[in-house]
Amino acid sequence: MEGLLPELEIIRKDFPILERQLAGGLPLVYLDSANTSQKPQVVIDTMVDHLEHHNANISRAMHQLGAESTEAFEAARDRVAAFIKAPSRDEVIFTKNATEALNLVANTFAWASGELSVGEGDEVVITEMEHHSNIVPWQLLTERTGATLRWFGLTDDGRLDLSNIDELINERTKVVSLTWVSNMLGTINPVAEIAARAHEVGAVVVVDASQAAPQLPIDVVASGADLLVFTGHKVVGPTGIGVLWGRREVLEALPPFHGGGEMIETVTMARSTYAGIPHKFEAGTPPIIEAIGLGAAVDYLDHVGLDAVHAHEQAVTGYALEGLASVPGVRVLGPLDAASRGGAISFELDGVHPHDIAQVLDSRGVAVRAGHHCAKPAHARFGVQASTRMSSYLYTTPAEIDALVEGLNYTRSYFKVG
């Protein structure tokens, strides 16, 4: 098959969990990577090596372990900066996950004074295909500040409806926040185009790259984003770590987020002054082991090459779309051509509820997700309560897609539909 990673079998060997046997001795067919990715041995080993030989708190410690730990942590920042082509390492802020990064942004807009402040009369624009983590923070922000939340609707084939963009993004718009790749519909959005319009009216553009970072080469400047977030556990890194990148000017203009150790310059009981970026936004002991693991993870991906990963995802996605089309009663939500989408495919199967589909698939070792995938509004838009989602990654084989398709045919017969 054209586009597959040439060394797929070797790559699979890097991921110990892929050897796992499930109930009944069945091999694992892991098609839930948009939910969380599996981890290569090198990420696990890097974390273990640090815990067993170099563990110490960072910055504050002047001893040898402290120096080693600080160096490893800050080297991880360099790696992440290289991964997303950030102009400066100081623009890379470590958070807990993508959700915290988005809340950091939404909260500091509420607390900002001047240009960036969001208040009464201002508008924030999101889209109907956002993950809850890119909806609820903006609802909370607009509720608390009296600003207005607006959103792009979706077309029937699961793309952003840009027909009213000039009305939606107007001189009252302070923030436009949107996902680069939808975790439900798979759609890849024209982020740069929307950012250009937003910048015309002076709005700040926030890009949720949680699903993009795992599978597309990212160049934060070219993306048009002013702020961009992603989450470690979806890019073969550990949980407990996320990334906020921001243009220096924007980050410097925003007030601090959480208060505490590491984010200060000086503290008296009466008042405090704050450190420069990135530390201003990193209160408390950061996720040290997690950042180090993330550094190893993005190195791993860079080593395989994001272009190659993307080609692989497209090949597998194309094959999966064909396979799904062969199953009677399957309806795919979102774009039907692999070229304009990422590697997550949500679908319905006539007459069987997604839970029941996932259950039958699981009994065959095929792991998919069933539910609303934290995108209830997008489901509502298409009149469905829940869907089944398969999502591939760099370790996914065409044979695993075959197992899914067979599983769906079996599901139909098990539930006696059709």
Partner: protein, 150 residues
């Protein structure tokens, strides 16, 4: 692998799923609640009508998987017409069955068709499905009772 699946999807469950009993929302009622399973989105709107200490009616509008739909249907069979105390007792028995991780022997005298859910207890992710409407019933009933006493 079918054995494991069949222990979950008992014929009784699939029957109730395809032909749910007492479906629809009906008058009169003292309390209406709306419960959601946040992880998957399954929903139920449920009404309870009590009179003179008896569960006169439980009516509902629900969307969800086979387990949650069948459980709702079985529940209405079990609870409609029962004194409130007894209904709460049955609720408790069903809850214990579901939370028993497959270790609890179901009591057919109390749970009737509900014993078919014994297999569900072995699938932790599905326990919430089976309990959705039972929790809604409990909520609606307590709301009704506290209205009465206040």
């Amino acid at each position: 692998m079918d054995a494991a699946l069949d222990s979950l999807y008992q014929e009784i469950i699939l029957d109730h799923y395809k032909h749910p009993h007492h479906a629809g929302l009906r008058d009169p009622f003292e309390a209406e609640v709306h419960h959601v399973n946040p992880t998957c989105g399954d929903e139920v709107t449920l009404r309870v009508h009590l009179s003179e200490g008896v569960v006169d009616d439980v009516s509902y509008d629900a969307v969800g998987c086979s387990i949650s739909q069948a459980s709702t249907s079985v529940m209405t069979d079990l609870l409609i017409g029962k004194p409130v105390d007894e209904a709460m007792q049955i609720h408790q028995t069903f809850l214990e069955l579901m939370q028993g991780k497959g270790q609890v022997e179901p009591d057919e005298d109390v749970l009737e068709d509900g014993i078919a859910f014994a297999g569900v207890a072995k699938f932790p992710a599905r326990v919430k499905c089976a309990l959705l409407s039972w929790m809604a019933f409990k909520d609606a009933t307590s709301q009704t009772l506290s209205k009465e006493t206040s």
